[in-house]
């Protein structure tokens, strides 16, 4: 029971800070679930991240899986609700406010500031997480190659995931 309450409260606190969405939140999620609460080890965290990436659905499924690991289906539900409710309530009330901002400069200021923060947090998160889950030069090379493909081509991410999985099965990573 106390694990469920802790799960709920701590994930709720993240929700309202996650500029850039779940991708920006991964290091905080790692810190909480691996280092502070010891719900899972680094390997399981990395594996859950991989499963959520490969499965259909929002990338917040990493959070759902961590909740499931902590406390079964109830844990999955609690974790999913926790990560969504504060930001959902915020946007429910803020959407009208943002849309009705009369002054175009104010509106653009909010937009530009939020997008710069999001970019920084997403990149910082990728940096942090890559160091935690990549354990070989080959893994870093695969990450670098994926970055290049995303930036310079219009390939569907699923191809990359399939290639990464195949290279892993063959023992290269």
């Amino acid at each position: 029971m106390s694990a469920l309450i802790s799960l709920f409260l701590k994930l709720s606190a993240f929700s309202a800070l996650a500029f850039g969405g779940i991708n920006a939140l991964l290091p905080a999620l790692y810190e909480l679930s691996v280092n502070q609460e010891h719900w899972l080890n680094t390997q399981t965290f990395a594996d859950f991240f991989a499963i959520a990436q490969a499965a259909p659905g929002p990338n917040l499924m990493t959070v759902t899986l961590i909740g499931w690991h902590v406390s079964g289906v109830i844990g999955a539900i609690v974790a999913s609700i926790a990560i969504c409710w504060p930001s959902s309530i915020m946007i429910y009330f803020l959407q009208g406010y943002i849309n009705n901002l009369r002054n175009p400069i104010t509106k653009k200021t909010v937009q530009f500031a939020a997008s710069a923060l999001a970019v920084g947090l997403v990149l910082g998160s990728a940096w942090d997480i890559s160091q935690r889950i990549n354990h070989s030069a080959a893994a870093f090379a695969l990450t670098a190659a994926s970055i290049a493909v995303v930036v310079f081509t219009r390939w569907h991410p699923l191809y990359l995931i399939a290639i990464g999985g195949a290279l892993g099965v063959l023992g290269f990573i």
Partner: protein, 179 residues
């Protein structure tokens, strides 16, 4: 104005949830704008913009915006529920398989490969988002500070936002006034 029942929203967002391999947002656009024609491209972009400004999972924010636009609080609930239900069931099933088969070297290798790609997808998306910041280069300072605070010093998310916000708001105001 077009109205939709919570049930229609639930079904629509369920489709978006389960088709969203490798990111749900492109599927949200395809379903909402092109297939169901619930919103025009302009309306959708405006809602997506707001969803990305406000913290939290972007796609959930979008579901709240779209759902509440057509059916108030009930619409928001049913959209989010539709979005999450099937994917949650799928990952829990995969989690169960993982518990049984994670000892296999092939499974371990596959997941290592996928997670290495997954980080690359996130970083690549971040770099694509950064392209917009080059139109006002001083803003790159905010990006740099945030990246170093979060990535190198591994500061707590709350601190990073607190440290970077004043400069972000100041420069955003400069950028907005300049145009």
């Amino acid at each position: 104005m077009k109205t939709l029942t919570p049930k229609q929203l639930f079904i629509g967002f369920s489709k978006i949830g389960i088709s969203g391999f490798g990111g749900v947002l492109p599927w949200a656009r395809r379903t909402i704008v092109e297939q169901e024609k619930w919103l025009s491209a302009e309306e959708f972009n405006a809602m997506l913009g707001v969803s990305q400004i406000v913290p939290g999972p972007n796609i959930v924010n979008l579901a709240v915006c779209v759902g509440s636009r057509f059916a108030g609080v009930a619409g928001a609930f049913s959209s989010v529920l539709g979005l999450m239900l099937c994917p949650s069931a799928i990952v829990i099933l995969l989690g169960m398989l993982y518990e049984h088969y994670s000892y296999l070297p092939a499974v371990q290798g596959m997941l290592r490969g996928i997670s290495a790609v997954g980080v690359g997808l996130i970083a690549g998306t971040g770099l694509k988002m950064m392209r917009n910041e080059f139109s006002f280069p001083p803003m790159l300072l905010v990006v740099a500070i945030t990246v170093v605070a979060a990535g190198y010093f591994q500061l707590n998310l709350g601190w990073v936002v607190l440290i970077a916000s004043p400069l972000a708001i100041f420069l955003a105001w400069k950028k907005a006034s300049q145009a």
